[in-house]
């Protein structure tokens, strides 16, 4: 439970984090406009950036990084379950279309 007592960041740190988030958003929008230059890497890069922002907000703003392990497992559990279940649904619908169309 030592994780529970880690110090939360200072306001200055929060502002720095927000600046990083802003820059990442700007990068995303830029990527969208230069899609032709980047080609097929655009979508993976965009997803990568979104995941990065997601982790930053969850980890620092929501203090998940400083939270009890139990909470971490919960949230991660929900994420993984959703990813697995919905990937199966999408794959299944894709395959069904392939077989029946």
């Amino acid at each position: 439970m030592s994780a529970d007592h880690k110090e939360h960041p200072t306001p200055k740190k929060y502002v720095q984090i927000a600046i990083v988030l802003g820059v990442l958003t700007a990068l995303e929008v830029t990527l969208y406009y230069i899609e032709d230059l980047v080609g097929s890497f655009t979508d993976p890069l965009l997803i990568f950036l979104a995941v990065g922002k997601y982790i930053i907000v969850v980890g620092w703003f929501m203090h998940l990084r400083f939270e009890n392990k139990m909470v971490n497992r919960f949230f991660a559990g929900g994420m993984i379950l959703a990813l697995v279940l919905f990937t199966i649904v999408m794959l299944e619908r894709g395959m069904a279309n392939f077989f029946f169309n």
């Binding site: 379950l81 199966i88 649904v89 299944e92 029946f100």
Partner: protein, 653 residues
């Protein structure tokens, strides 16, 4: 410890109700025991209604070419029977057990969020009444030229698309009346209720355990509650969204599940069963928990393989998320998915088998005490094994496509949900009867109830196996004389009435024993878990001081020691201990603070049905009424004083 009581400054408007007896004490209660009892009675009421619907169905099917019900009425009856039994009977009866027992088993004074608990209950009531108001306000409607266009009595004003509401049959084109809207929105409200209680139970189990109650010392029933809460929390959101889609399709012209608009009806099946299969385990796991409490008590042996049972329970819960498409083998899903889901369906039989063997191991060599709860627990094992075996045959895809939508399936899931879940629940009702009411039930009537139910149950659902294999199709209101299905159908209908008789016996026993039953001692079964260390009926404050738990089956170890050969030997101090416990339980030494009752859960809950009606009838005023109730409820909730005004319980004589 000093307690600062703030002067009641802003309590004049938002004064918390304080009656302890009578009508308002029940309406405003946040006590987990009262809520549990209300859940129990209300769910039993719906169980009776669902049972009557089943009897009506069986009257229609008792004779070939019968005309007791029209096709439309028959459709409405089986839809409401299924929906009622799943959402308004078994789930809430399990919730009654969770509510009453969970805090007692972990040694807590109440659940983590008492007001949210009351909210879950009232939301459930609101959802149930909303769904059933379809008989008064709803219309079935009929697709143009369909055979359903014939005259429909009031029985037919109910939802008629089956309890899993397959699309596009349940869409506006084939179900043009408002009845399916009542279904979709009613389930939405019921879903919110279950979701709220799931959060509550998860947090309660994690955070409200008493001293020394480590996870691996929790009673199995608590573990199964935990697993059910997880299943609810992660599966209900999926059906909530799917039901939103249905409502949008029916009310606002979208085409999520309609092929003509580019939608995907099979997507509904996926979303429904992504919820629906975990739902099956939501219905059965509480019974697993109950049986795992009853068997060791009445075998006078510890549960065989406690850890294995716990992990198997979670294994079932986890794998239960990965088998949903076996309900869809006859639908347009790909062969790859069929193979995969067939395999996972076989796999889930493994943890279930582990449990069965553990229960058998528990009974093995035990000194069996065949009281009514034990009979129901043993009946549960037998019936559930039959249901499980017929269930695992569905993992063979070609066999399943043969059996789907025949009475074989009906037989299978009634063996699991009636022979399994309901037998377990009845066992639990008898087992904890003394704890809840402080009186003993009548053993003779209990035994008669068990045997009539056992016979009636097998007469009803046993023959359905071969009726199904002979090709009788589920959800069809007549069958022709030439099919030669008449004999067994008559037997099935007779069986259904024997079940009804057994329920009457149960009710007679309950009503009689509640008033006239013998006074119960607080540990009538020589039990193992800590809810039996407190007086019967449970005092409002549960435990007069926080119990400290030192082992699994703590109460048993306090009473019994082991000799060299591992046999249980009653300690000399046991009798003195029991006397002392009773004395302490009735006379708390310290002041006990209980959460105060509140008006706001019921106000908040009553807002939602108005939204439901507003959507169906496109009425802004109704939506406004709903919004006002919601606002008053939630702001009153937030503002009403919390800890300043705790009731202070003085010592009683």
């Amino acid at each position: 410890m000093t307690k600062i009581i703030e002067p009641a400054k802003r309590t004049n408007i938002f004064r918390r109700p304080s009656s302890e007896y009578g009508f308002w004490s029940w309406v405003t209660t946040v006590d987990h025991k009262k809520i549990g009892i209300m859940y129990g009675y209300a769910a039993f009421f719906f169980l009776l209604i669902g049972g009557l619907e089943a009897l009506v169905l069986r009257i229609q099917l008792a004779q070939p070419d019968n005309s007791f019900l029209s096709a439309a009425e028959y459709n409405a009856m089986f839809t409401m029977h299924g929906t009622t039994m799943v959402f308004l009977a078994i789930m809430p009866i399990s919730a009654a057990f969770f509510n009453y027992l969970l805090p007692l088993q972990i040694g807590a004074r109440d659940v983590a969020f008492p007001r949210l608990n009351a909210l879950s209950f009232w939301l459930w009531v609101a959802g149930g009444l909303f769904l059933y108001s379809t008989f008064i306000f709803g219309t079935a409607g009929a697709p143009e030229g369909g055979y359903l266009a014939e005259e429909v009595g009031w029985l037919g004003n109910a939802p008629n698309g089956g309890w899993f509401g397959y699309q596009p049959n349940a869409g506006f084109k084939y179900s043009p009346g408002t009845a399916m809207d009542y279904w979709a929105l009613g389930l939405q409200i019921l879903g919110i209720s279950s979701l709220v209680s799931a959060f509550n139970f998860i947090v309660t189990i994690i955070n409200m355990r008493t001293k020394g109650m480590r996870f691996m010392r929790m009673p199995v029933f608590t573990w199964m509650t935990f697993a059910v809460a997880f299943l609810l929390a992660f599966s209900l959101p999926i059906i909530a969204i799917a039901l939103f889609y249905v409502t949008f399709d029916r009310q606002f012209g979208t085409t999520f599940f309609l092929v003509e608009g580019g939608g995907d009806p099979v997507l509904w099946q996926h979303l429904f069963w992504l919820f629906g299969h975990p739902e099956v385990y939501i219905l059965i796991l509480p019974a697993f928990g109950i049986v795992s409490e009853i068997l060791p008590t009445f075998s006078r042996k510890p549960l065989f393989g406690y850890a294995a049972i716990v992990f198997a329970g979670f294994g079932i819960a986890f794998i239960g998320f990965g088998v949903w498409a076996h309900h869809m083998f006859a639908s347009a899903i790909s062969p790859v998915a069929q193979a995969g889901f067939g395999l996972s369906t076989m796999v889930i039989a493994v943890p279930t088998g582990v449990k069965i063997f553990n229960w058998l191991g528990t009974i093995w060599g035990g000194k069996l005490n065949l009281k009514t709860p034990m009979l129901f627990a043993l009946g549960f094992i037998g019936m559930f094994v039959i249901g499980g075996l017929s269930g695992v045959t569905h993992s063979i895809v070609p066999a399943d496509t043969q059996q789907t939508d025949t009475y074989y399936i009906v037989a299978h899931f009634h063996y699991v949900l009636f022979g399994g879940a309901m037998f377990g629940i009845f066992g639990g009702l008898y087992y904890w009867f003394p704890k809840v009411w402080g009186r003993m039930y009548n053993e003779t009537l209990g035994q008669i109830h068990f045997w009539t139910m056992m016979i009636g149950f097998n007469l009803t659902f046993g023959p359905m196996h071969w009726l199904g294999l002979q090709g009788q199709v589920r959800r069809t209101w007549v069958y022709a004389e030439e099919t030669n299905l008449g004999f067994w159908n008559l037997i099935v209908s007779i069986g259904a009435f024997i079940i009804a008789l057994s329920i009457l016996i149960f009710m007679a026993n309950w009503i009689y024993s509640r008033r006239k039953g013998e006074k119960a001692p607080f540990d009538p079964w020589d039990a193992r878990t800590i809810e039996w260390t407190i007086p019967s009926p449970t005092p409002v404050w549960n435990f007069s001081k926080a119990p400290e738990v030192k082992a699994l089956d703590d109460f048993w170890h306090a009473k019994y020691d082991e000799d060299e050969e591992g046999r249980a030997v009653r300690r000399d101090t046991a009798d003195a201990l029991l006397l002392q416990l009773e004395e302490e339980g009735l006379n708390p030494e310290e002041e006990i603070e209980l959460p105060n009752p509140s008006y706001f859960p019921i106000i908040l809950a009553s807002g939602l049905p108005f939204f439901g009606y507003a959507v169906i009838y496109k009425s802004i005023p109704l939506a406004l009424i709903g919004a006002v109730l919601l606002l008053v409820g939630s702001f009153g909730w937030a503002i009403e004083p919390l800890e300043e005004e705790f009731t202070t319980k003085e010592e009683e004589e």
